[in-house]
């Protein structure tokens, strides 16, 4: 029944390590996103994919590499983790609608709390 799921829920790792977070949606949406929420709850978009193609890359360091094997999955791989990467990462999805009546209500996953030591 889960609409947008992420694994793992918690991730604790050492600086310099490489880690991945997985995201899957079963809503049939064609657009998926990664957001980063910092300790002050500020939510900032990192990437957006539509039909497996990268649409938005918001000046994220190239240590972060998203991969979309199909429309239902958007994974996030992070190389050489740094202390500043500690945050909660949210995956979301939406359905793109063309024309003036477009909307993009987004459905969020439960988040992955990443702690870099």
């Amino acid at each position: 029944d889960t609409a947008v799921s992420q694994t793992p829920k918690y991730l604790v790792t050492q600086m310099g390590n490489d880690k991945s977070i997985k995201c899957e949606q079963n809503l049939g949406h064609d657009t998926m996103y990664w957001y980063k929420q910092d300790s002050k709850k500020f939510l900032k978009i990192m990437f957006s994919y539509n039909n497996k193609e990268l649409i938005i890359n918001e000046t994220v360091p190239n240590r972060f590499s998203p991969k979309s094997p199909d429309k239902a999955h958007l994974n996030l791989h992070i190389n050489s983790l740094e202390l500043g990467d500690s945050a909660v990462y949210f995956c979301a999805s939406s359905s793109y609608s063309s024309g003036r009546a477009r909307y993009n209500e987004q459905f969020f996953g439960p988040g992955t709390r990443l702690t870099v030591l």
């Binding site: 709850k41 978009i45 949210f90």
Partner: protein, 115 residues
């Protein structure tokens, strides 16, 4: 730069009272959305209001939009302890790459409803 700014940053009320949160933004928008985030959870979509709409209702929620002032308000009537959460506005700006893929979120209002 950040598009949406919620006001106040924190709000504490008693159960049964109404809660009003405001959001201001900087550029023209296609639509404005409000989301709720319970502690330790993902965001949940509450309501969307389009740029040509002025007011919208959903249950105990009432949203207004004033595009001339670039502001929106979210009113929760007859609040309950379960309404305790952070509330975010998000804007889908006109001309954001010609797509509607990008929402820009404010910093949120932390609402505490005391039983």
């Amino acid at each position: 730069s950040q598009q949406g700014e919620e006001d106040p940053q924190a709000l504490s009320i008693q159960e049964g009272e109404n809660a009003t949160m405001n959001c201001s933004y900087k550029t023209s928008i296609n639509n404005l959305q409000w989301y709720r985030q319970n502690s330790g959870r993902g965001l949940v979509h509450l309501i969307l209001i389009r740029s040509n709409e002025r007011e919208k209702h959903s249950g105990r929620l009432r949203v207004t939009l004033d595009t001339s002032k670039k502001s929106s308000s979210l009113l929760i009537t007859a609040s309950r302890a379960a309404d305790t959460a952070s509330y975010f506005c998000a804007t889908d700006a006109v001309g954001s790459g010609g797509s509607n893929y990008k929402l820009t979120f404010g910093k949120g209002t932390l609402l505490t409803v005391n039983p």
